[in-house]
């Protein structure tokens, strides 16, 4: 066990280092964006003097390294600063949006992950059959379309023609849990369609990869049923690659939702991010980017730890 604790601690330390480097990159990138908030707010007609005065008021006139370290220092203490546009505390604004995004991602994950793994296991079991081919074709087609296209198709069919789900996923805190789920359904379906193919194909490939190994032959010669061979003998040994691709897709669900949120006018982090870039609301852009980065780092850490846990050699040392 101590070996695992050590490994996790190592990964965690590396994760923090990665986040620090990312914060620097984010800051530099935002710094390189053309135009700035004052110019965007004050419009074309503003004189250089008014822009300068506005900059001074917001602290935008300070040299970049000073602004970076102030930002980083505050960030570490949990102070994300204020939005330039709405003057609201970012921690409050982001908290609500992040919650919504995570809600959407969770709904999608709860549908997508079991679906993908089940489809993958079945595809491995009935490999090269009609079912296998059909699943491959369907999932590959759905991944080949851009997500906004999938989103509009779903709106057209399920909202417009059939009227089963609302086309706009406007949720707020007053709604009950099931009402929220109902309104989130379409974006969640969209995300599911986009990410199932990856996970399903990896599950299938990882299992099939193991079917030539001697312990699978042994299981067959023990007269076990094919389903049991796949589930009990192949799947546990195929977990590491499956976990990795599942977690990567979860990160995509959180981070990659920008387009989907915009299409469904879903009040999540992605939409906020897009709006803030448009209005040069630097603190919001930076904070959002950092949250996205953190999601990736944390989920990858989770993937590493789970992969390690799925290896009996590490879990049960000699």
């Amino acid at each position: 066990m101590s070996q695992i604790v050590k490994l996790v601690a190592q990964r965690l330390a590396l994760g923090l280092l990665t986040l620090f480097i990312i914060s620097l990159i984010i800051f530099l990138c935002v710094e390189m964006l053309p135009g700035n908030f004052s110019e965007a707010i004050l419009g074309q007609a503003a004189t250089p003097e008014t822009v300068a005065a506005f900059n001074r008021e917001l602290g935008l006139d300070l040299p970049p390294h000073e602004r970076y370290f102030t930002w980083l220092f505050n960030m570490v203490q949990g102070d994300f600063g204020r939005s330039l546009a709405s003057k609201r505390e970012l921690s409050e604004l982001l908290g609500y949006r992040l919650e919504n995004t995570l809600f959407l991602a969770s709904v999608a994950a709860v549908i997508a992950i079991p679906l993908a793994v089940t489809l993958g296991v079945l595809a491995a079991l009935y490999r090269d059959s009609f079912y296998d081919r059909a699943v491959n074709v369907v999932t590959l087609s759905s991944i080949s379309f851009p997500e906004f296209f999938v989103a509009y198709i779903l709106i057209l069919i399920l909202a417009q023609n059939l009227g089963w789900f609302p086309a706009i996923s406007n949720i707020n805190d007053e709604l009950g849990f099931w009402e929220k789920i109902y309104r989130t359904a379409l974006p969640a379906f969209t995300l599911t369609l986009v990410c199932v193919a990856h996970m399903m194909r990896m599950t299938r490939a990882a299992i099939i990869n193991l079917l030539a190994s001697p312990y699978i032959e042994m299981a067959r010669l023990k007269g076990l049923r094919p389903g049991r061979i796949i589930l009990k003998h192949a799947l546990p040994n195929a977990l590491a690659p499956i976990i990795n691709v599942v977690v990567l897709n979860m990160a995509y669900l959180v981070v990659g939702v920008v387009l989907v949120e915009v299409v469904f006018v879903y009040p999540g982090l992605g939409q906020l991010f897009v709006d803030s870039v448009r209005s040069r609301d630097i603190p919001v852009v930076q904070a959002c980017s950092l949250i996205f980065a953190m999601t990736y780092v944390l989920l990858n850490l989770l993937a590493d730890v789970l992969s390690i846990m799925s290896n009996p050699r590490l879990l049960h040392p000699r």
Partner: protein, 546 residues
């Protein structure tokens, strides 16, 4: 379940009868016949030995007794009657119900054939529970009973460990217990001791034989080692290229073989080199002085010293993990020692091979265990052998090609035929010959041979040993011969170094080491080498019994 009470039928009834068995294998989308109409009869409680070299079709026939053909193989003709059922006509479902419950399998490498994700006892209980023979709790207590009968240490708890937590010899016995779980009528043992050290092999052999006799189980015992099979089998079938060569009861086969091929198999390991005079007192070609070495923090070599003289063969023997290959890595500079020094011709060698000059590297060449992985599959024989000629000796063009042809002749491969071949187009023995030619190309004075014959069939191995011997006579080479096989040592060595757990336990001239009194460990090693005598294992076990 009681011992043998619920066995139906008497010993002597026919259990398996294969008639005109034909099996095809697919390569490049064409089916080739690999077993050409073999008849096999096995009676209840009988142990049948299938013996032959690789490619003889022995594993394929063994698996066919389970109605099973590996991927890329198919049973194309003949009948396989198991207790009145024709397995070639049986449905997949009825085959599945037979496998594991009435016919069980023990694989060559237990470490690979146990699922790493599950405990031993979980894998044991699977067959009896899934076939509906007994409930889990009963299977578990039965497993503990069998683990005890197979002399596994701590039978109550060993089942609750994972495969990687148990040693190779113990795993092989645990697999035998697993095969025994449903008290099958037949167990197919597919080279169960080939991957084990000689001392471990004895334990596994005696455990397997004991349990098979106890339950009166019929067995097909597959191996390439005639000495091993003569301990186990009542009757032996000698196979070659998918055909039966000879069949007979064990004692008769060993004492009076009818066919030349069987005689060759029996005569294997009789090759001996002529004894040389004592080494002259000149400086040894290679001197290893008080070398200790470690991988990271775990020490593997302790204060090892040895001398290798010109034109002599020093055999380094020991079981896996004894540090013999590590010693070779230190000598070649792949693993700098933590203390001690290696001298070449009286001069100290740099501990790290990167600090040695080209000539020092040239004089010391290596030949490896697996010729398959030691040569680049995408290069032709001419460039594999030509590379050291270019690198060490600066030969180019026609000079180089002429020398490659000369080297091919030295290793007894026809240059016209082999010059342009790829490794895929060579047999295992031919590949090892190419590796030898590559080592010779550098014109070395000392060649380190790391288990060079252990991946080869016995007859082929013997040819390789003879070749190495004639090259030594001709070129005056010195060999450091690393092996776990004492028969090889007997054949080639002038001097012997016996290693155990990273230390040299005994060293000296061959006659001295091989004549009693031996060091305790040397004695154990020597007495563990199976002999072509059906009573050998019994006698040995009697002797060793306290």
């Amino acid at each position: 379940m009681s011992e043998t009470a619920d066995k139906t039928g008497q010993k002597g009834d026919v259990l398996v009868e294969m008639h005109g068995l034909r099996i095809e294998g697919r390569s490049d989308d064409i089916w080739h016949e690999i077993v050409h109409g073999v008849d096999v009869i096995l009676h209840r409680g009988e142990v049948l030995g299938l013996i032959g070299e690789s490619g003889a079709g022995k594993s394929t026939i063994g698996l066919a007794a389970m109605g099973f053909a590996r991927d890329g193989c198919r049973i194309s003709g003949g009948s396989i009657m198991f207790d009145g059922v024709d397995l070639t006509k049986a449905s997949d479902e009825s085959l599945r119900q037979l496998r594991g419950s009435r016919i069980a399998y023990v694989a060559q490498s237990a470490a690979a054939a146990f699922n790493p994700a599950h405990k031993l006892i979980d894998q044991y209980c699977e067959a009896p529970v899934q076939h509906g023979i007994m409930p889990r709790a009963e299977a578990e207590s039965d497993a503990i009973d069998l683990y005890g009968r197979l002399q596994l240490p701590d039978p109550e708890n060993i089942g609750f460990r994972y495969p990687h937590q148990v040693s190779g010899g113990q795993l092989q016995r645990a697999m035998t217990a697993m095969a025994m779980a449903c008290r099958p009528d037949l167990i197919v043992f597919d080279e169960p001791t080939t991957a084990l050290d000689v001392t471990t092999q004895i334990e596994v052999l005696s455990a397997i034989r004991g349990i098979v006799r106890q339950f009166n189980t019929a067995a097909i015992y597959i191996t390439h080692d005639l000495a091993v099979v003569s301990q186990m089998a009542d009757r032996i079938m000698v196979l070659r290229h998918g055909n039966l060569v000879e069949e007979g009861d064990t004692r008769g086969m060993i004492e009076d073989p009818q066919k030349d091929y069987t005689r060759e198999l029996l005569a294997v390991r009789t090759f001996r080199k002529d004894l040389l005079d004592e080494p002259n007192a000149e400086t040894p070609l290679l001197r290893v002085e008080n070398v200790s070495a470690a991988y990271g923090k775990s020490p593997v070599l302790f204060d090892v010293s040895m001398d290798i003289h010109r034109k002599r063969t020093v055999a380094v023997v020991g079981e896996s993990g004894s540090g013999k290959s590590t010693a070779a890595r230190v000598i070649t500079g792949l693993l700098p020692p933590s203390s001690g020094q290696v001298y070449y011709d009286g001069q100290p060698l740099a501990p790290d091979h990167r600090k040695r000059n080209k000539d020092e590297k040239r004089c010391l060449q290596m030949i490896y265990q697996m010729p398959d992985t030691a040569i680049n599959p995408r290069q032709r024989v001419s460039s594999i052998i030509g590379r050291p000629l270019e690198f060490y000796l600066g030969m180019r063009g026609a000079d180089r090609d002429a020398r490659v042809r000369e080297l091919l002749e030295m290793i007894e491969l026809d240059p016209a035929e082999f010059f342009d071949r790829f490794p895929d187009e060579l047999s295992g023995g031919q590949k090892q010959r190419v590796c030898i030619a590559r080592a010779l190309a550098a014109e070395p004075e000392l060649i380190i041979c790391d288990e060079v014959t252990s991946a080869l069939d016995q007859l082929v191995a013997e040819e390789i040993l003879k070749l190495l011997q004639s090259l030594q006579d001709e070129l005056g080479l010195a060999y450091m011969f690393i092996t776990h096989d004492l028969a090889t040592v007997r054949a080639v060595a002038d001097e012997i170094v016996v290693m155990l757990q990273g230390e040299v336990v005994e060293q000296g001239p061959k006659e001295q080491i091989l004549t009693p009194p031996h060091h305790e460990y040397t004695e154990l090693l020597l007495s563990s080498v199976p002999e072509m005598d059906p009573d050998w294992l019994d006698n040995l076990l009697d002797q060793r019994a306290p």
